[in-house]
Amino acid sequence: MSAVGREHPRLEGPDKVTGAARYAVEYPVDGVAYGWVVPAAATRGRITRVDVAPALAVPGVLDVLHHGNAPRLTPGVDDTLFLLQEPTVHYRGEYVAVVVADSLEAAREGARLVRIDYDTQPHSTVLSEHHPGLYRPDTVNPGYPTDTTDGDFDAGFAAAEVRLDATYRTPAYHNNPMEPHATTAQWRNGRLLVHDSTQGSTPVQATLAQLFGLPPEAVRVVAEHVGGGFGSKGAAKAPVVLAALAARQVDRPVRLALTRQQLFGPLGYRTPTIQRVRLGADADGRIAAICHDAISQTSGVHEFAEQTAVYTRSMYAGRHRRTTHRLARLDVPTPFWMRAPGECPGAYALESALDELASACGVDPVELRIRNDVTVDPDSGQPFSSRNLVACLREGARRFDWADRDPTPGVRRLGRWLIGTGVAGSSYPARSRAAAAAATAAPDGTFEVRINATDIGTGARTALWQVAADALEVPADRITIRIGDSDLPPAGVAGGSMGTASWSWAVIRACQGLRDRLRHVPGAAVPADGLTVEASTADEVRAQRPLARYAYGAHFVQVRVDADTGEIRVDRMLGMFAVGRVVNPSTARSQLIGGMTMGLSMALHEEGLLDERYGDWVNHDLATYHVSACADIERIEAYWLPEEDPELNPAGVKGIGEIGIVGSAAAVANAVHHATGVRVRDLPIRLDKLLDRLPAG
C-alpha cells in the first residue's frame, strides 16, 4: 500500500514536544556570546555620532558594532542586508548597531545604553492614492509584468449594463512566526557555520557567501527545525548577517535572537494596499470588463513590489481586462513576502467585488462565479493543466448547505445575533523549481534520503519521507530522511507553495535512480559503504510544457454579529480545495485550516497601527497586534477533491501552503455584509466600523 495519501504524524513530533528538537539558538556552543540589536530612533536621516562608552561600561559587554567599525560587506542584490555599513537611516527601527556580550542580559542592557545622534530629515510613511511619489515599478514580485491590458477596458466598462467601482484597503500585516528570527554564527578557520531560522538554507548560504566574499562551500547553513516563517524567513534576513558580522568582530560564536517587538518591520511585512476594482457586467452577472489597480508601498532601501493585482489576471472571465501596480517609496521598512503575497490581498479585493457585483445583479454569488469561469487562462492564453474552481464551488456549497440561501442582507436574527454567510473563490499558482536530492542504500536494507529542504513546521519532512517510501518501494520505516543543512544536495526555499512539489520531484528521481541501480547490482549486494544516487530536476523543470498551472478553492463562511456591540464571531468556515494529490492528509489539513484562519485573522483582527509622527507601528506585540485565537472560530473544515493532474510533477502535488489564505478574508467580509448589510471595505472589520451602522432590532 502506498505511503502517499496516508495520514502520518510528523516524524519530529516527539522531539519537538519533549524539547529534544534544537532550534537555531539552542545548539550548545562553547564560548558563545550574545548579540542584541539597537534599532534606529530616527525615521530618516544620518547617524552623526555613536557613543559606545556607556554600553561598553556594562560588565560583560564585549563590543558594539556599528557602521563605523563593523567588518565590511560586499554589496549584493538585497540592500536590506548591507547592514552596519553606512550611516544612513532609512526607517525607524532599522538595525543600526549590535551589542555583543557574555550574557543576553548584558547585551540587552548595553543596547539600551548605546547613544546615537542623528541628523534627521522629514519623513513620509503613510501610503495614499494621492502620494506624489507613486511610480510604476519595472516588474512585480517575483517577476510578473507590472501592468497588463487586453481588449479595451474603458470602452467595455462604459458599455456595461452593471458597473461596480469600489476601492478596498488593507493595512500592514506582520508575519509573526512562533519562533522569532534567530541565528547562531561561528567562524572556524575562515569558514562560516550558521544555525539559522530560515525557510531555505541553500539561498542563505549563497547570500552569506556573496556578502562576506567567500566561496559557497566555505559557508554552511543549518536549519533543522524552524518555528514557522510565513514568508518572512524566505530569504537571508538581518539576524544571520548581523550574527556573522558580530562573530567575526569578537572572534567568538555569537547568538542573536530577536524579540517579538523587533519583528514588526525590519524583517518584512505585508504591505498595506489600496485596491480599486472595477467590474462591468451584463444583467446576468457575466463580466465583460475587469480592472484591478493596486497601490502598495516599498522602502528607500530596496524595492519590493507586491503583485497584488496578479490574481485578477487569471481568475475570472472578461473580454476587456486591465491590471496595474503602482508603488510609493516611503521611509518605512521594506515589505516582503507574507503567506500568498499578491494573491492574498488581491483576492480579498476581487472576491469582495464579485460579491458586490452579485448583489447588484441579483445573482447568487456562487452562481456568479460559475458563470464567470474560464477555459483558458485569460492572461497567458494557455490552457490549464487542470482547473476545478467550479467543482470546488459546487461541492463546497453542497457541504455548506448553501442552497436556498436568502441573499437579503441584514435580516437574519438569532436573539441578539445577526447571522450571515459568505463565499469566495481562491486560487494559487502550482509551480515547481529545480532541486537536487540524493538517496543511499545501506547493506542492512535501510535507506537514507538527503535534500536541503526545510520543514518550517508544516510536515514537509514527513511528506518527503512518504514520497521516498513509494519511490523506493520499501516500507517507510526503513528510510531516514535528512533535510535542513546546506551540506545536503541544494534545494529551494519552503515558499511559494513550491516546497513539496519541487522537493518531492528530486526525491522521487533520486529514489527511482537508486532503485534502478539496485536492480542491476549483482546478487543485489550493496557495497559496505552503501550505494548512492544523486539526481537534479533542473532539466526536467525547465522542459515543462507551457501550461497555466493553478490550485483552486472555494471558501464558505458563516458569521454572527452582536447587534449591540458589533462584535463579530465566526461560526463556521468551510474550505473546499483542488490541490492535486495530497501526500499527508493530516498535515495538509493543518496547512489549509491554518491558511483559512490566517485569512479570518486578516479580515477581523490583524492591523499594524502606524503612528505617522514616529513612522512605525505602535502595536508591536501579540497582546496589541491581535492574531485570531481558537475561540474566534467555532467550526472549521477543509476538504479537497480527488484531483489527478499529470502535468505537474511526478508526485502530482500542487502545493497547499498558501491557497488556504487566498480568498478567506473576502469570504468573511462577504458574510459580515450578508449578516449586517454593512460593507466595510477597509480591513480589519472591527466592531467600531459596524456599531453605528447596524440594522435596528
Partner: protein, 330 residues
Amino acid sequence: MKAFRYHRPADVAEAVALLDAEPAAAYLAGGTNLVDLMKLGVQRPELLVDVTGLPLDTVEVLPGGGLRIGATVRNSDLAADPVIRREHPLLSRALLAGASGQLRNLATTAGNLLQRTRCVYFQDTGKACNKREPGTGCAARHGQNRDLAILGWSELCVATHPSDLAVALVALDAVVEAHDPGGAREIPVAELHRTPGEHPERETSLPRGALITAVRVPPLPFARRCTYLKARDRASFAFAVGSVAAALDLDGDTVRDVRLAYGAVAHRPWRAYRAEEALRGRPFTAELAAQAADAELAAARPLPHNGFKVPLIRNLTVRALTTLAGTAPR
C-alpha cells in the same frame, strides 16, 4: 536588562521594611505584568520583593458575611473558588473574561489590581509618555488612541486601567487592606486608582511602599443577580474595548438597588454612580436603563479614535440591566 536583586521576605513586616529601605524596589507577585515591563525597560527596579511566599493566599468568609481575598490568591484559583462562585459570581465572571488560562494561573489579586495601563506608548521607551517619564508629553493624546479613555482623562494622559477584576470589585464596594511603614490602612477600591490629572505617574492612592495584603468584599444580598459583559476585538485573550459590571435588585418592577461599573473607559475602573442614581427607586424599563447610561456618559469626552465607546457602553449597559431584569430580547 538591568541587573536587580531578588528577595523573598518571611512575613509582611519584612516585605514592607525591605521596600521602605530601597527607593527603587518593587513587589513581585505573578510577574505577568511587572516582568514584561522590566524587559521592555519601562520599569527598572533595583530590588524585587517576591510576595508570593507570604501567607496571603486564602479566601476567608468573614463573620457577619463578606469575604476577604488574600493578595496573592491566583486569579484562576479565585475564579474557581466555590465560595466566590456562590457569594460573588461577578468576580468569577470578570476574572474569566480576562487574559488567558496560563496568565490567570500566575496572576494574583493585588497584581491584577495594580497592573499598569496597556497604552502602547507607555510600553515603548522610544515614545513620549508622561506616565512613564513625567514631562515628556503624551503621545497617545494625538496618536493612536482607539483603546483609551473617554471619561476622566486629562491633557497629560488619556490611558485606561485594563483590569477586568477591578471593575467588578469597584461595583461591589470592595476595600483594599494594605500595610505600609506607617501601619495598616484600608482604601475602598473605588478610591484606589486615581484619575490622571496633573500627575499621570501617580496611579494609586497607596502610599509608597504599601503592600496590599487583601481585598475585602462586603456582603451584597443581590450579588447573585449580576453580570459582567465585555466587548473585545477577539473572542479570547484580549483586553476589553469596553466592559460593564452590573448587579440589580428589583422589587417587583422597581429598582430597589443597583451596582454598575465600567471598564476600559478611564484611568480607573469607573463606578457609574450617576447611572445608579438615575435607576434607583424607578420602575425598570429598557428606556430607563438607556437614560441611566446616558446620564453617566454625558460627561464623556471621546478622543479622535474612540467615539464608538460611548454607544458601546450605552448598549452594554442596557443589555446588562435588561438581562438581569429578565426583559432582554435574549
